[in-house]
């Protein structure tokens, strides 16, 4: 379980997260929606320790992410993250991209790591692109590579930061399908997204962020279909 308690985060003078609290249980799929700059992506970076926090705490499976003694590299193996800009490693083939971390972080043998990689790549539909370099693949394919790469570490939780925002419209579908597949597999996921209908279809709960706080949190039938807060209503009407 991921527990976030009263999280405060600032960039210099700019306060981005102003007391965020929520819980993510095993197997849950939570979508995070909201306007740009409302702090959604920053939340994810705080959860896996890529950004330091100024107040509150984040506890993943009993370990405080930002405590002094925490082995952050160990912890990150549990938290898979996929970014908006895919960030495929350009100098490695698809297979090498996915097999690298299991080998050097988890210490698996080369053969084992490649087995894992092949399995994950087949799962996301890239089984025939093993020796292709990322630069030769479309954005959608690179993003699926990034997902397979994160999955190869066998994480408990997956964090998705607006993974379809940088894609051409016709490529968005294949990535969303992959996300659906993962949620069917039972993966615990926090998905930051602009795709409201996708969020409604896939999530167990939806969190609407407004200016650094959670304005509304609940099942899609509430937050998206019948929001109680005026701000949520305003945001959704602008987006539809």
């Amino acid at each position: 379980m991921i527990e976030i308690r009263n999280l405060h985060k600032s960039f210099g003078d700019l306060q981005v997260l102003k007391g965020v609290s929520m819980e993510v249980k095993k197997g849950e799929v939570i979508s995070v929606i909201g306007a740009s700059g409302s702090g959604k992506s920053t939340l994810l970076y705080c959860i896996n320790g890529l950004e330091p926090i100024q107040g509150g705490e984040i506890v993943v499976d009993g370990t405080d992410v930002h405590a002094k003694g925490t082995d952050i590299n160990q912890l990150r193996q549990k938290l898979g993250m996929v970014f908006q800009q895919y960030n495929a490693f350009p100098h490695l083939t698809t297979l090498e991209n996915v097999a690298l971390a299991p080998r050097i972080v988890k210490g698996k043998s080369k053969a084992e790591a490649q087995e894992i990689a092949k399995r994950q790549l087949a799962h996301v539909g890239l089984g025939d692109k093993l020796s292709v370099y990322p630069s030769k693949m479309s954005g959608g394919q690179q993003q699926r590579l990034a997902i397979a790469r994160a999955l190869a570490m066998e994480p408990t939780y997956m964090l998705f930061d607006e993974v379809t925002s940088a894609l051409d419209p016709e490529l968005v579908g294949e990535v969303l399908d992959t996300l659906r597949l993962l949620s069917d597999d039972g993966m615990t996921m926090i998905i930051v997204t602009h795709e409201i209908s996708f969020a409604r279809d896939v999530s167990d709960r939806v969190a609407y962020f407004h200016e650094g706080v959670i304005e509304e949190l609940g099942p899609p039938s509430q937050v998206i279909e019948a929001p109680t807060s005026a701000r949520t209503k305003a945001f959704l009407s602008n987006v539809r």
């Binding site: 896996n48 890529l50 590299n73 160990q74 990150r76 193996q77 938290l79 898979g80 993250m81 970014f83 800009q85 960030n87 490693f89 350009p90 100098h91 690298l100 971390a101 050097i104 972080v105 988890k106 370099y133 630069s135 990034a146 790469r149 994160a150 570490m153």
Partner: protein, 209 residues
């Protein structure tokens, strides 16, 4: 043309000092770049001064410094060492700038992706960042290698018998200055072309993406 073997011998000396200066320059240049990038104010100024001096003063001046300048303090280096020190000093300065630019050109999102997979900082640098930096700085590094070879010719002014020095020596014996230097010019041209060809070959094997 009986002197051709002597010239070719001297040509090897040129390559020797140029390659050594290049290797040392890469190592020192990398250190300088990392110091400047780390931003620890205590030591960045040393690196910055080195780089700015190396890049804004003539190579000949640097050569004279290691030759005559150190002489003022009683340090008299042999011609070979004067050339090696000067070339290394110069290379390190230019390469440091190239490396610094290379590091900044790799998006820091690469680092983020690597770290979020659980890699330590060291692993991320060695496996992900540095290979990409290498690709970016490869062409400038080749240019610097060519530069090293060309600059080594200044050794003739401090008495080092590399290719130019040897040519000067032989030419002054026979007074056929033009012929000797013309041959040497051709030898340099060939050496440079060989270096460029080798560099292209290596890059073709290293960077298949």
């Amino acid at each position: 043309m009986r002197s051709l073997p002597d010239l070719i011998d001297a040509g090897f000396k040129t390559l020797e000092v140029a390659v050594e200066a290049m290797i040392l320059g890469v190592i020192i240049g990398l250190c300088l770049a990392l110091i400047r990038l780390s931003g620890r104010f205590g030591i960045t100024w040393i690196a910055t001064i080195w780089v700015e001096l190396a890049r804004n003063t003539p190579a000949l001046l640097q050569l004279f410094f290691f030759g005559f300048g150190l002489g003022a303090f009683g340090i008299n280096l042999s011609p070979y060492w004067i050339v090696l020190c000067a070339l290394t000093f110069n290379n390190a300065g230019y390469l440091a700038e190239n490396f610094r630019g290379g590091f900044r050109a790799v998006p820091d999102t690469q680092m983020k992706a690597a770290r979020s997979l659980g890699m330590t900082a060291t692993q991320a640098y060695l496996r992900i960042v540095i290979p990409q930096v290498l690709r970016i700085v490869y062409h400038p590094m080749t240019n610097q290698m060519v530069w090293s070879v060309l600059m080594s010719s200044l050794g003739m002014l401090v008495g080092f018998h590399e290719l130019s020095g040897e040519t000067q020596f032989l030419a002054s014996k026979t007074f056929r200055i033009f012929e000797y230097f013309a041959v040497t010019a051709i030898i340099y041209y060939v050496i440079v072309k060989l270096i460029l060809a080798a560099s292209r070959l290596i890059s073709w094997r290293l960077f298949r993406y």
